[in-house]
C-alpha cells in the first residue's frame, strides 16, 4: 500500500527543499475497490469528496469509497470560475451559503492544503436606478441575517474598483453596486485535491476510472452498486454526479425536476494586475458576465447557461459572444485581449434554481444534486450537511428546505424568480 501524503508546514517545505524529490508523495492513495463499504459515494467532485471526508471525520465512518467514472476533479469542480460568495436573497439559501463561506475561510487550515482563498470582494453592479433598490433589498436581507453586504454608490464604487473609474459612454451606465467583501475566489482544483488528500488520509478509498452502471436493491433498500470494476456492497449510496444527475434519475427510475445545461467559462491571456475583485455584470436581456483576474494574470470570464440541454461540454458560440460582449461593455480596456482557453461544464439545473439534498426512492440512497451554477461555492457546507444526513438519517436544519418534495408541495426556493425553467423566457 502506498504511503499517505505528509503534513504540510513551513518546516516540512524546508525539509522538502533539503531532501529533494523523495519528500513528495501522492496526495491520495489509489486503492483497489473492496467488496463492501458502509457508504459508497458516486462522483469524486467537490461534493462527493467533501461528503466522504465529513463522513470519516465527523461521524467516524471509515469504510467509505468514492467511485469516479473519470478522474478526481474532472467535472464541474475543475470547470467553474472559482467564485465563492453567500449573497443570496432567500433565507434558506443565504444561511446555507454563508455556512459554506465560513467553512471556506478556514478550509485551508482544516485540510492542511492551500486552497488560495482570496476574499477580494464580489461586486454586483447596478446598471440603472431600478437595479439599485433590487440590490438594496438583497443587501438588507443579508445584513438582517448577519451576513456582510455593502451598498455602494458610484463614487464609492470607483474608489473600490479603480478599473471602472474611467467614465465612458456606456450602453448601460453603472450607478452603484452591492459588495460582499468576504466573497472572492478559491483555487478550484485545490479544493478537490485538498478534500481528496484529507479524505484519503482518513482511510477513504478513492477509486478513479470506475463507472457506476447500476444499483442492486431489495425492498426499500439498495444493497450493492454495480461498477465497471465489479459489484460492491454498500450500506448507503450517495450520488453526487452534478451534470450526470439526469442519468442517475434514469438509473433509479425516478423522474427529476432537472435539466442538464452547459455553462461556459473562458480565460484571456495574462496581463498585469488590473482587477482585484470579482465583478458581476448582468445587463438587461441575456448578456451576463462575471469577471475576475487569476493570480497568473488571466481574466477569468463566465456568463449565463447556454439555455438548452446538452452533454457535449462544448458551449454554443452565440453564448460565448454574449459573455465577451458583456465583459467588454463593463471593462472596455479588455477589448484587445485574446482568449486563451474556453470550456464548458454540464450543470444539473433544477426547476427553481436551488439544490436538492434528499433521499430518493430507497431508504439508503441519497441524492446531492441540482447545484445549477452555484455548486462550487457550496461544497464545504454541502459535504458536511450531506454527511450528517447520511450518518444520522435525518437532514440537518440547514438543508431541510432542499428536499425533493418541495416541488410537489409548492415550497419552492425560486432564487432567480424565473418560474419552472432554468432560463428566463
Amino acid at each position: 500500500m502506498k504511503r499517505a501524503s505528509r503534513h504540510y508546514s513551513a518546516w516540512s517545505l524546508l525539509r522538502a527543499r533539503l531532501s529533494g524529490a523523495g519528500f513528495w508523495r501522492p496526495l491520495w492513495t489509489g486503492n483497489r475497490l473492496q467488496q463492501a463499504y458502509d457508504v459508497v459515494v458516486v462522483g469524486a467532485g467537490g461534493h462527493g469528496l467533501a461528503t466522504a471526508y465529513h463522513l470519516a471525520k465527523d461521524h467516524g465512518i471509515k469504510r467509505v469509497a468514492v467511485v469516479e467514472k473519470r478522474l478526481v476533479g474532472y467535472g464541474n469542480v475543475g470547470r467553474n470560475t472559482t467564485i465563492v460568495r453567500s449573497n443570496y436573497l432567500l433565507p434558506e439559501n443565504h444561511y446555507f451559503y454563508e455556512d459554506a463561506l465560513r467553512r471556506y475561510e478556514g478550509l485551508g487550515r482544516e485540510l492542511n492544503y492551500n486552497i488560495m482563498y482570496s476574499p477580494r470582494g464580489v461586486v454586483d453592479l447596478a446598471l440603472s436606478d431600478d437595479d439599485f433598490p433590487v440590490l438594496a433589498r438583497r443587501g438588507n436581507a443579508l445584513r438582517l441575517a448577519g451576513i456582510d453586504a455593502e451598498l455602494m454608490d458610484r463614487a464609492a464604487l470607483e474608489k473600490f474598483v479603480p478599473a471602472l473609474a474611467p467614465r465612458r459612454r456606456r450602453r448601460f451606465p453603472i450607478v452603484g453596486a452591492l459588495v460582499q467583501h468576504r466573497g472572492g475566489t478559491v483555487r478550484h482544483d485545490a479544493v478537490a485535491w485538498g478534500y481528496a488528500r484529507a479524505a484519503s488520509a482518513l482511510g477513504v478509498d478513492i477509486i478513479e476510472d470506475c463507472e457506476v452502471t447500476g444499483l442492486h436493491t431489495t425492498g426499500n433498500s439498495a444493497t450493492a452498486v454495480q461498477t465497471s470494476q465489479g459489484e460492491v456492497q454498500a450500506g448507503a449510496v450517495v450520488f453526487a454526479t452534478a451534470g450526470h444527475t439526469g442519468l442517475v434519475g434514469k438509473m433509479l427510475g425516478v423522474p427529476l425536476p432537472i435539466e442538464t445545461h452547459l455553462l461556459q467559462a473562458m480565460v484571456t491571456e495574462p496581463v498585469k494586475p488590473l482587477l482585484d475583485t470579482v465583478l458581476v455584470y448582468v445587463a438587461p436581456g441575456h448578456a451576463e458576465s462575471y469577471i475576475s483576474q487569476s493570480d497568473r494574470g488571466g481574466m477569468v470570464l463566465g456568463g449565463h447557461i447556454d439555455g438548452f440541454p446538452s452533454y457535449t461540454r462544448e458551449g454554443a458560440w452565440h453564448r460565448l459572444e454574449d459573455v465577451v460582449q458583456a465583459t467588454v461593455e463593463v471593462l472596455p480596456q479588455l477589448g484587445q485581449l485574446r482568449l486563451l482557453r474556453h470550456w464548458a461544464g454540464t450543470n444539473d439545473m433544477t426547476m427553481d434554481g436551488s439544490p436538492i439534498i434528499d433521499r430518493v426512492k430507497y431508504d439508503n440512497v441519497f441524492l446531492n444534486a441540482g447545484w445549477c451554477y452555484g455548486g462550487f461555492k457550496a461544497i464545504p457546507a454541502s459535504g458536511a450537511a450531506c454527511a450528517s444526513f447520511v450518518a444520522k438519517g435525518t437532514p440537518p436544519d440547514l438543508i431541510r428546505a432542499y428536499c425533493l418534495s418541495r416541488f410537489a408541495t409548492g415550497h419552492l426556493l425560486d432564487e432567480p424568480g424565473y418560474g419552472p425553467y432554468p432560463v428566463k423566457l
Binding site: T245, P255, L256, I258, F308, P309, T312, A316, H318, F407
Partner: protein
C-alpha cells in the same frame, strides 16, 4: 436549426422552453403516468426527461416566424434529428 417555415437559421434565433416528457425516449419514466390530477400537474410543470442520448424538446423561433416547434436532438453530440411544428399543425 432548420425551421419548417424559415429554413436553416442561426441557433440564437431559437429559444428552448422545455423537454417534452415521454415522447419516444424509451426511458419508461416521466410525466403522464400519474393518475392523480395534482401529481400529474406537478409532473407536467416540474419534471423533465433528462436523457444524454435523445431529447425531445419544445422550442420557439422567437427571432423569426415565432412558430412553436418540437425538436428531436441528441444532447451528447449536439445533433438535431428533426424539427416539426408543435401539435403537428401544418
Amino acid at each position: 436549426m432548420a425551421c419548417p417555415f424559415c429554413g436553416l437559421r442561426p441557433l440564437e434565433e431559437f429559444l428552448f422552453r422545455k423537454t417534452v416528457p415521454n415522447v419516444g425516449t424509451g426511458s419508461g419514466v416521466g410525466v403522464g403516468a400519474d393518475a392523480d390530477a395534482g401529481a400529474s400537474a406537478y409532473a407536467q410543470v416540474y419534471l423533465r426527461v433528462d436523457s444524454a442520448e435523445r431529447s425531445v424538446e419544445e422550442w420557439q423561433h422567437v427571432a423569426g416566424c415565432r412558430a412553436w416547434l418540437v425538436v428531436d436532438r441528441n444532447p451528447s453530440k449536439g445533433v438535431v434529428r428533426s424539427v416539426a411544428l408543435l401539435g403537428g399543425a401544418q
